[in-house]
Subunit: 298 residues, 6 copies
């Protein structure tokens, strides 16, 4: 039995080099996909986040909306309407979107983390309207559609926003006192109005504003794949640009990769795209040499 225990201890020790390296650094984690919806994955995520915080890593969570937004809109009798991958977000829609993001999903994540957090550390939920955290303006429709090679529609896209600035002071005030900020991807406009913003982009902007050590995307894919569909473990910037220009990267991975590259440019050390369907995927990526998923570096 002692042998078993010693084996356990050796594994604990194997994390030391990583703990040492990341002590006092900031990780921004984009939380979404199955990791946010399946109960056992949720628990595994919460414990990982708490463990990271206890070993001295400053963690900030940015979450997406998932299927709950559509479900709730449906209950409200609002039919989904998408344009170029974006949800048309009129006043009724933004109202429901914010309610679901800030009042339901956000608080559930907070409570989930606090279930494991002990008495020294707590999660606190924020929307971009709290403390004017995420300043936003209406999405530049023309630029957006053109970047996708699509025709720019006449129709108004509504309260879909883009990040104008991040008010890091509220985050610092909370992180100093060992709170874990959990952020809903709602931005605030000049008149206080709410904007729905892509959570991947919010995460990368928060990471840039905090000059984070790592930006981690928890997704439902294994990572970035090459032409042959093989997972790429480490992706350098130039190679990523090549893959994009060759059209190998497409769909939801495209904006993720673009924001990853932008984040690297702005001083974030590493971006990770990992499979949230694997238990403890964050710990695995951070605390083992092999890692899982794709790490993107300068």
């Amino acid at each position: 039995m002692v042998e078993e225990l010693v084996f356990k201890a050796r594994i604990l020790q194997s994390a030391l080099p990583y703990i040492r390296e990341f002590y006092g650094k900031t990780f921004v984690i984009k939380y979404g996909g199955s990791a946010m919806t399946e109960e056992s994955l949720r628990e595994s995520f919460a414990k990982d986040v708490v463990l990271l915080r206890y070993v001295g890593i400053r963690v900030v969570i940015v979450h997406g909306g998932g299927p709950k937004i559509s479900q709730t809109l449906e209950k409200f009798g609002i039919k989904p309407h998408f344009m170029g991958g974006l949800r048309k977000t009129d006043e009724d829609v933004i109202h429901v979107v914010e309610m679901v993001l800030s009042g339901d999903i956000n608080k559930d994540i907070v409570a989930l983390i606090n279930k494991y957090s002990g008495k020294n550390i707590y999660a606190v939920g924020l929307s971009g309207r709290d403390g004017q955290l995420i300043k936003a303006k209406k999405l530049d429709k023309e630029a957006y559609f053109k970047s996708l090679g699509l025709e720019v529609p006449e129709e108004d896209i509504g309260y879909v926003g883009q990040v104008e600035g991040v008010n890091v002071e509220l985050l610092y005030a909370l992180m100093e006192k060992a709170y874990i900020p959990v952020i809903a991807p709602i931005g605030v406009g000049d008149k206080g109005e709410a904007y729905n913003i892509n959570a991947d982009l919010v995460a990368s902007h928060i990471a840039m504003a905090l000059r984070a050590e790592k930006l981690i995307y928890l997704t439902d894919t294994e990572g970035v794949k090459d032409k042959e569909g093989k997972l790429i473990s480490t992706l350098r910037k130039e190679e990523a640009l090549r893959l994009i220009s060759e059209g190998v990267i497409k769909g939801g991975m495209l904006p993720k990769l673009r924001s990853a590259l932008e984040a690297l440019e702005a001083g974030v050390k590493k971006v990770h795209i990992i499979d949230g369907k694997i238990f403890h995927s964050i710990l695995l990526e951070v605390f083992t040499q092999e890692g899982i998923g794709t790490e993107i570096v300068e």
Copy 2:
């Protein structure tokens, strides 16, 4: 014209004795009723809160739910069911209640205040699940119904809670840095579950935990009235107890007055019940000698 200006200045000066007195003190304001629903009253409220904070008063807002909860439940096709004045709150209902309180009303108030707050001060929205702010447990049904002289129903009341404790550290961390906490009356249970709690009671518990100078209830009535229906300006504890025992106080005023008396006992200096339908009612009550509404003192 100069005379007019000097007249204005004299009025500004008339606030000095009150500013001097309340500098550095904490006011907990229960925000609800028309002051929360009518646009012009909302603006007047927001400006008052911001002004109080700028003159050195630490303000904490606790808001209720108002008609939005019932409206949203209806949209979800859930029929309201009340027992002894309490909404039966099963899992579906608490879900909607939290979403409306923390994700809709709370963020709207935050944005409203931030519209007037300038760059030194910001509102930050919190639910009782953030930072384990309001620890709660299921309402003691028996005690509750007996206290109202009603028969205790068999039926389960669901996720209706009562305050078990307040985690003031998160509030201090925010107030130190000049943030204005805006709190939704949701409590968190042992397993992280949400409870719907009466906002008046949440406000009085927050005031007690912060040893506030003032607890202010913004209501839709003028204040406490005597047997003849005349407004009572100042109400002493013993008189309040007498009015209660004589049955003069009833309806929604009864729990408000009870929590006011409990707050005084626990060290809160004064409780105010004022008419939120009057513009700038908070400033009037705080910064003029006459005041409006009823003040309750030891």
Copy 3:
């Protein structure tokens, strides 16, 4: 009656935009003239200063000497002797000047402010010899008289000084703890000797050293006037220079305007020349859009 109160509250609210703007900023006020000698104006001044401090503005007062110096010299049997507008200040004279400024006028202003200051804020009187606050040397007689187009007199001017440097640390130590420094325009020379310095110049040097938001001259005139004798509300730098070169500005206004321009150059945001004979003139200038007097800007 409630209407009246609401009207009052609206006026209080009208100050919010200004409070918001000047929160945490520093105002240096040159105090003199009738505002310093007439009892009711004195009270109005003291209350204004206290109110400014309570709403978060860091106030520093620099006062002049007024008629008291001459009166006291007379009692001592010393006859006034002026040269080019400057009092000849031999050892006997500087002795009386310092005594009146630092021991009489200064302490009276301190007591006046403390009468209204409450328990969180206090005025503290300082002379330039305290903490080596205002380092001075003998006035450069030649430069001075030449700048006025006058012949340089043979006679010694005595202990008339000019500012060599300001030791801001003592001011910061006091302002951090919410004290209001009240400064007598006495400078200290290399050997510890006292110098009589023009209070307008002391005020502008203090404002420059503190990089003040505003430098306010309380005078006995309405403000700067144009060729036709009409009050100029806002005066830009170039226009001021033009008015000086055209000889429109003369007398005591000339050095005031010159030091105003020097202060703007050194980073002070705005200089105000206002009529201290109007009640609450400081509040009026600071907290209303119309203002009174002249504001001088880059």
Copy 4:
């Protein structure tokens, strides 16, 4: 020559035990008599004060008025009028007294110390009206005259005060930043009016409020003497009381000794009465075993 230097060094070293003992402690020094009027004694005093501060002792100076008050009153044509050793102080007199104390003597002492203080330490002059430092009320005439065994006069004594309280916060704010407070014995009444207070009593009240290690009276006598006129080196409380009751102590020494005993009672460790006519008398008393003068202990 080296021998001479080594001899010097040995003397420097002889101060170490005292420096070690008093490091971080507070000394309140009542400054008056010849030490305040004779130039060479003044310099020796200033250097001693500065040296004490540099070796880590927190020094507070309280000064008296000396002959300058009478001289100035005379120049103003006011005749001195004494009652039971107290100057009758009507409005004209208090005006001159304050001016001389706070504006002349105080600032001269400040400048004197700053002449030797270097760039890390500065003296700052304060009157009891600054920061409401010394709260005072009119002297209790009846108690005073009775304590002296004199008949209580009908005549009004005017603005002669007694200490009601000391506002230590201003002193702490200054001492923390290495300033040396120099205090004029002027108290402030409820309406901001000035009171003339006996400097010995002000010194003992300041020492009590600061729980000083030492209260040192610089006088023009060698110290306390016994019946035979022999200097007493160390005087215990009981013996002091005996000497008073036996009438051995009289004149100006009587109130000094009484306030010394009161100070000991309130927690001051030792009171010293020393001869200010000896050069460096403070250093001698503090830094040598023999000392000079009388030390009074519990």
Copy 5:
């Protein structure tokens, strides 16, 4: 392979409840025996200590001397002489003892820990003479020998000491800045002379002075055993006393157990006696439920 990684992650997670519990607490570890002499056990010890510090536990190491003292004395030609289990420690001996403890063993442990410590945390070696850390006096020979039921010898025991006091401030100054103090069991007497003190006792005194959460003895035995020689997992105070009085506990375990009981009395939460020959024995005892060795509790 992913399964293997997930398995690893689960083990990392299994430490979370313990990390959460001990975050911010102090552990004092007595380091000695094989864990100090065998290379691979040394490395395992160093990594454990560093890991504990990174997860927020304040670690203080007290080490013994081991065989090196005797070896070095031998090289110096000094023959060991023991009395009642104590080394007779004359001036020559204490000289060598201190040199070996503070200059050899201590610095080797420091370097060992720093090899694994990364750039945020460092070990710093101290003897009880540094900062007057461990005040000591000569061992009370009579009390000591009587407590062992031995005759008190005539012969002088020399520089063998007992702890008189611990100067915790130096430890706090270092621990605040994330240093790990490593302490040699040398005490300092009134004249600065060194004393050799039993390291077990030094450890328990340091633990008491710091009100440590845990005092851990790393030994060469499995733990405390009962009459039948079976390891006792958890030992309550009364049972420990019974075992002592029944003579079950003897030899080196006796003083260890006595100092354990004394430590519990003084507020230390738990004392652990564990087998340092097991790899990662500290981690095993602290981070697993089963633990190894004996824990002693009130």
Copy 6:
């Protein structure tokens, strides 16, 4: 007798200008030679260091090894072997060297200083392995021997090191809390191994890293001498270079002077080479105008 006392006081006062000048500055003192071995000189040194610290000077001591290393090596039966003035330091030798330096000499100096230090200030002994204070690598043998004009030997020099970097944070942490660091000239290599480093060089590197005001070498010579053997009181950089190039400086003085010049280059204000055989030589050099020994300046 009073005259004698006054004379003493005047001497105390004569130190004021120097205390004023060096307040808050850092002095690094290389301690060695007779000052370290003769009892009465040791006491005089300890008192001087303590006095410097009490008057606000931050003192850091670096000591050498003196005859004790050879004596101890001899007892161990190790024969000294020197190459180009350097001790060949194999594993056995470095072991003894460290033990003597860090465990014997270092702790004796610490105890010596603490004997005089009082309760506000303490010495703490450190080796370069504590807190990774002095990072070192093996001496560049080739560069060393060539710089001396000697043939580079084949033989390995062993653990003789040179300074690679100084970790000032540990020193700051201790000095902030009024501790006096006493440093043994042992460096730490990449693998934690100890290196013997010339103490003069360690002292100059510590002085450079702390940007010290003074670097003081306590030696057994009077100072630097010119061609005629006359002591040079003040030596400018260019002159020093000339003396070196002309071969006037030789022996142990050569590396001392070289490190002095390097220290000046790196921002140290003055380097002093003084005769430690004179009592209180440090005080004499620092606190008198004449000084003793040689001061080297830019």
